[in-house]
Symmetry: C2
Subunit: 120 residues, 2 copies
């Protein structure tokens, strides 16, 4: 057991730049593998593989058109990601806002400057 997560969930799938690029292309509309290959600087096998990953996490759907394969984004699959993000930012804003107020208070009344500077 070394290395943990894999290309099994959307987060990971979108972790790879190439994959995001492919999605960017598909954002403009459906596209065949060939079209994607042409637009990006990727080899055909590479694109096919990345598309497979994207397909596995259901973020793109494929349709046959003769000997072509037309891919398109399946937006609903992105929902979990958006939800998670929203939840996180919301929680953070709420909690931290209150916390900041709290700190601002204690800072003026009780022992001051115990907590040191922020970094990074």
């Amino acid at each position: 057991m070394a290395r943990a997560a894999t290309t099994t969930d959307i987060f990971n799938a979108l972790g790879e730049t190439s994959r995001r690029q492919i999605l960017d292309v598909l954002a403009a509309g459906e596209a065949t593998v060939g079209a994607i290959v042409a637009e990006l600087e990727l080899s055909q096998p590479q694109v096919s593989k990345h598309l497979k990953v994207l397909r596995d996490v259901d973020v793109v759907h494929a349709r046959h058109d003769g000997r072509h394969r037309v891919y398109r984004v399946h937006a609903p699959a992105l929902r979990p990601l958006q939800t998670w993000l929203a939840r996180l930012t919301d929680a953070v804003n709420q909690h931290y806002d209150r916390l900041d107020e709290y700190l601002a208070d204690t800072q003026s009344s009780a022992r001051a400057g115990h907590t040191t500077h922020e970094e990074n």
Copy 2:
């Protein structure tokens, strides 16, 4: 040159489940490394390393408090992700909606059933 992207951008950083878990913990408020270790089933070094990654992409900030280190989420860093997601879904919805109408039209008028079934 094998393997490409790394733990250099937010997308990748959040690609790892452990890292997302840590953020989930931090969503509830600031926390020390020890607290995170206690709440998750991760070893201390592991948590520290993941925190470093998160720090490097600026998604968390750290503050010294005695011999403790208090971490907190830095929400603004998540913006790029949200923006990208929004852009993608928006684009998709617009383009594809029109495209679907188009298909619905041609389907009834011109040669029908040239494009085959959808899969996956």
